[in-house]
Amino acid sequence: MTIWEILIFSIVKILIVVTVMLLTVSYLVYFERRISAWAQNRLGPNRVGWEGVLQPFADVLKLLLKEDIVPEQSNKAIHSLAPIIALFVAFTTYAVIPFGPDVMIFGFRVPLVVADINMGILYVLALTSLGVYAITFAGWSSGSKYSLLGGIRSSAQMISYEISMGFSVAGVLLVAESLRPEAIVQSQAGWMWNAIIQPVGFITFVVSAFAETNRLPFDLPEAEPELVGGYHTEYSSMKFAGFFLAEYANMIIASAMIVTLYLGGWHFPYLESFGLSPTLYVIISVLTFMAKVAALLFFFIWVRWSLPRFRYDQLMNLGWKVMFPLSLLNLVWVAALIMIFKL
């Protein structure tokens, strides 16, 4: 492939991924509201369009038309930089996650991933940690004590959970012997899912992912009863929408990461042995990936509307005294498995 062909394919892939991401994010908000309503024996938004399917567009339009209030006490430059960082992190992380096998288009072999880089997992870990800056900046620059407390909490929380997250990922890397997301997916063909090989690592990773995305049992940075809105108390209009979008985009990334690392990525178990045509194979693989991500997203929402919030000391206890040792234990377990069974 020449440089131009690579460029064109990349741009097309980026456009597709970003559009799908934005649509999924807006509908995720809608489904969050519907599912929360169902769990509480309510109906949820069902007025705009058929059963409320146009609700996301109404929400965005409302946020666009709102007045953008910047508090007098705030540090204006950083105040507007924070949501940009949040969005940047949320949308760039997705670049390395493969959503299907290689396809043949016009005689070119195109991998279904925006950027097939050989240290993709490191890239994801680095960028998700960068997300802390968005929240800390937002909290600090707002010039409000609630925002500041929210920002401090979130940085403490993210740093402590990043450790157990990193160690859980190390278990996966031991099995795959590569940092390339493609290779990790390939290593889980059939039923060799990492969730089955290393259930403890799977649990610690999922719990850390919840903490990283600030979702409900761990949403201390924006705990309403104590901190009003947390770090985004002083945000309004599209800046607030930026944080809102980033939160849901992070949820999608967390789900996609869990699928890639632990649930076999786009693999439908033993699909190769069914003898399907290559096109059908690719379509089913991509659909499998989407279904897995959708199931996990539902799980995220479901957990949010079932479990109460952790207290701050409980959160730190869980992070340092439970999740961290468990993820280390998982690493030992995987190493032992490799020693014994030569996985």
Partner: protein, 164 residues
Amino acid sequence: MAVKKRYKDLTLLQRIYIPEIVKGLSLTMKNMFKPKFTMRYPEEKFIPPASYRGRPVLVQETNGEERCVACGLCARVCPALAIEVQAGETEREKERYPEKFEINMLRCIFCGLCEEVCPEEAIVMSKDYELAFSSRGDAIYGKDKLLTPVIQLQDRIEFLRSYK
């Protein structure tokens, strides 16, 4: 100092969290498939019980006349001063009738005192709860809006007779 064992101390199974989390999740999952309480309001309307105090109305007999004799007790008892009555004379058996009977629905507090005090059972609380006006003038309901055939108010009148 020995730590006293409290009743609230969790068992090991509870401290692992996961069984408890599964319990909580299954509860919300069960609730997702239960019938919903929400009413789809404009399409599906709430029908209040007889004890409901909605918009006060004047009872209209089957022959088209009002029951009200314009004694003015309701206007006197009304704590919000929402009712205005002006009496007039007629040749009919009852001799008096309200020439003008107005209720200001912006003032009415739906206390039901007018209904309680009425000696003729002429003013009762209906089941109408959809009260929206576009101007202050519209909020003053005259006799044209207040008079309601007695058949529609049977429910409330029976309720009043059994509990008053």
